[in-house]
Symmetry: C2
Subunit: 475 residues, 2 copies
């Protein structure tokens, strides 16, 4: 077992030591890629299974689209290609044959879905169509970090078309709320929500909604986005349908995605100097039972009572020939929510010791106190504590600022600056160059009159009609 | 609803019309790629879920490996690169920057796993390691056909390392038997089993074991393979471990894979001129309940009894405003095993009509005959009939041949020729050029003395020590 760096000394090394020591990944052969090892993949698989149910609730159907997209198709939506062009992996040769039309390795699949929607959508009866795929996508990145910024990463991308603007807008709004619910419940991750400014908007979208989480180092991380694409793509790809009145109209489109970045967020929000801390719903094992390797009738009796009480809760029994202390620290690094220690002392006294990962407490229970409800309630309590702690940190970090000096100070103190803003893309770029902070979103919580214009002035440009916007350094 | 071609008139058009009309796929933008639509993806998803349980039973853990492999790594195993080089998709530029070391888009991932195994395997205590990934792989193909031969296809690839030859060999043997069990049970697919000749062996393997299925046009299809790689890769990639005696030894390696080709096999074996016929375990819906769109108390009573009886069996109720006859033929094309028709006549008489897809029978049941056991037993009977029919066709197709004339005649009659064979790669190529047939495998069923040499002469080369080998035209 290696060593977890101290996060107050070197946050970056702390993060790297956690993902390697807890056996989530190994680095891939190509820069910016990673191998998801069984423990890491199992966490991703639990995220998939959980999220998939949320997606199905809003009528999403899964499918699979090819990895390669001809470049000639890719350039049909000008803002989309402008945004993605610098990040594209492209195939220019098959064997020795040079391709006239290069093949793009998907950085996202709007283009592929557009082509499909055009072919299957004929009438208003066909709408809405809500599809999703679980796959990996590819973007050339200069500064790569596992889970946070990869050349290849796993994600889900949902693409949908509707017969009118309202349905599409409502759906893109509903999707970002679904992401929030999932993150709150499955990852114990509190998030700020809102709309992206023009500068941070998805290339090709009319509106981008976002969930933003705050890491322990005060940096924000965009963890899920939902895009209202209006008819920007459908006009360029000629995706029309026959209306009830026998006219033809362009479809209104949305897309939304969450990626393996969620694992990075979860680590950076919950973990500590002992290693990973995992929300129970995505932990591969909720409980680990640790015993010695010896066969013993009295131990067997305790064990069978514990196992029966765990019932449907996913656990593992580790009876390898290895000291109980060594096992304990192994599973501590791996973030198993609870360890049930049944050593010789426990067997003697007809009890168990439970080690709670998030608070690092050890609590003794006598056998007659143990039942399914206890084990289940411990998990619920564990997750609630994770969420509450992260939520307090997030809310305590928000600082209302009124001028540039306060803004700079807030960012310097690793806070989220909440400020009245009405600037264009150039203003935002200038502010970022000056302070290192970028806009995260136009706050929904703080702009009760979000849909209307306010009478406030922008702290930076002094323009009227400013809205409250979150700013922070971001990954 | 379109038209299913007559398979006796044009088998190829029949196949294509089935996969399009039953809404399994759309063609992708790049030659040889396909979009798995929700119905097709759901079938693949059922195959995944089923197979995954079989893989876990032998201790397999899932993981995910990067798509791109540096070409400099790829060439380390000479036979492997020789076999795959003509089929590789390669990335040679990132933006405008020409790469010195091109990136191979994985055609299979032995190389990536080797690199990983070298990094994580230290001692005999670490062995065996049995990993698997579900992903897509890429091969440049001239003649592409959906599911049967694609530029990109979905599969699982299992890669494992062991401390000794016997464990590795036994495991590769066990894997091909697991594939057979899965295909028999989940796809109702009878297969021939055996070892590939040198000519047909996986590039880099010491032995390749195979499952071969027979399509209705008399062509064979390789549907699953398991490879014993010996130390061929571990020596080139220097994958060593410390033995119990503190020596160092190379690991023994295996790999095995099954792909979305299984869907092609299932179509070509079971389907008919009415459309798809689906084994119940992979059918997205086992039963469809068809009713009119009208609300009716008496209908509701029948419906609730039927739904309660179906219990945990996956079904869908279609009450769209559409004629019962039209719905029936829609689900017939889609291969739903059973349709439960509850029209006005059925409601009147307190009964239901069940349409059985494979035999195209309609059977009436009174309400008091209906219960979970009936519905479950119908599924079991349906699947058994599919398997038995396909098995009879397969066994009836095997013809023992003793000379070239009989061989050519058998192949001309769309049979599988079973012949004594002892030829080298050139002999086999010559025979293929002459007859169109390739060796499928050295039969395990017919070579009781498989491990020993026989005293038979090869029908083609006249050499001694020939073994019984299956030959057929193949996809």
């Amino acid at each position: 077992m290696g060593k977890i760096f101290d996060k107050d000394i070197d946050f970056t090394k702390w993060y790297t030591s956690i993902i390697l020591e807890s056996e989530l990944i190994e680095y891939g052969l190509v820069k910016g890629t990673m191998i998801l090892k069984p423990y890491g993949y199992s966490i991703w698989n639990n995220i998939q299974k959980g999220m998939d149910k949320y997606l199905k609730k809003v009528g999403t159907e899964n499918c699979y689209f090819p990895l390669m997209i001809p470049y000639s198709e890719f350039i049909k939506e000008s803002k989309h290609v402008e945004g993605f062009a610098p990040e594209l992996f492209k195939i220019s040769k098959l064997g020795d044959k040079v391709l006239e039309d290069e093949l793009v390795i998907r950085p996202t699949s709007e283009i592929a879905f557009c082509h499909y929607f055009k072919s299957v959508c004929n009438s208003y009866n066909d709408l809405p169509i809500v599809l999703n795929q679980w796959c990996s996508v590819f973007r050339v990145e200069k500064n790569t970090r596992p889970f946070l910024r990869n050349s290849e990463f796993l994600w889900q991308e949902q693409h949908a078309i509707f017969s009118n603007e309202k349905d599409a807008k409502d759906f893109s709004f509903r999707m970002i709320n679904i992401y929030k619910d999932f993150m709150n419940k499955f990852l114990c991750l509190p998030v700020l929500m809102g709309e992206k400014t023009e500068y941070e908007r998805f290339a090709g979208a009319s509106k981008t909604f976002t969930c933003e989480a705050l890491m322990q180092d005060g940096q924000a991380l965009q963890v899920g986005t939902s895009h209202y694409l209006s008819t920007n793509f459908s006009k360029n790809f000629d995706i029309k349908f026959q209306t009830k009145n026998n006219n033809f109209d362009y479809v209104y489109q949305t897309s939304a995605g969450c990626s393996s970045r969620l694992i990075g967020a979860m680590i950076l929000v919950h973990s500590d100097n002992k290693g990973l801390v995992l929300p129970s719903l995505i932990a591969p094992y909720k409980y680990i039972i640790i015993t010695n390797n010896e066969k013993d009738n009295k131990l067997e009796k305790v064990l069978s009572h514990v196992k029966a009480s765990l019932g449907s809760i996913i656990f593992k029994h580790d009876d390898r020939e290895k000291g109980i202390g060594l096992k304990l620290s192994e599973y501590e690094v791996k973030g198993v929510p609870f360890q049930i220690i049944i050593g010789s002392k426990e067997v003697e006294n007809n009890q168990i010791t439970i080690y709670k990962r998030n608070t690092q407490e050890k609590i003794g229970y006598s056998l007659n106190e143990i039942n399914f409800d206890l084990f289940r309630n411990l998990l619920l309590q564990h997750d609630e504590e994770l969420f509450k702690k992260a939520e307090k940190f997030l809310l305590d970090s928000i600082v209302k600022v009124n001028n540039l000096e306060e803004f700079i100070l807030a960012i310097k103190n690793k806070k989220i600056a909440l400020a009245y803003w009405n600037g264009n893309q150039e203003d935002e770029k200038r502010l970022k160059d000056l302070t290192g902070a970028s806009s995260r979103c136009i706050s929904w919580d703080h702009n009760a009159d979000y849909q209307n214009s306010s009478n406030q002035k922008c702290f930076f440009t002094n323009k009227d009609n400013a809205k409250l916007v979150y700013f922070a350094r971001a990954y």
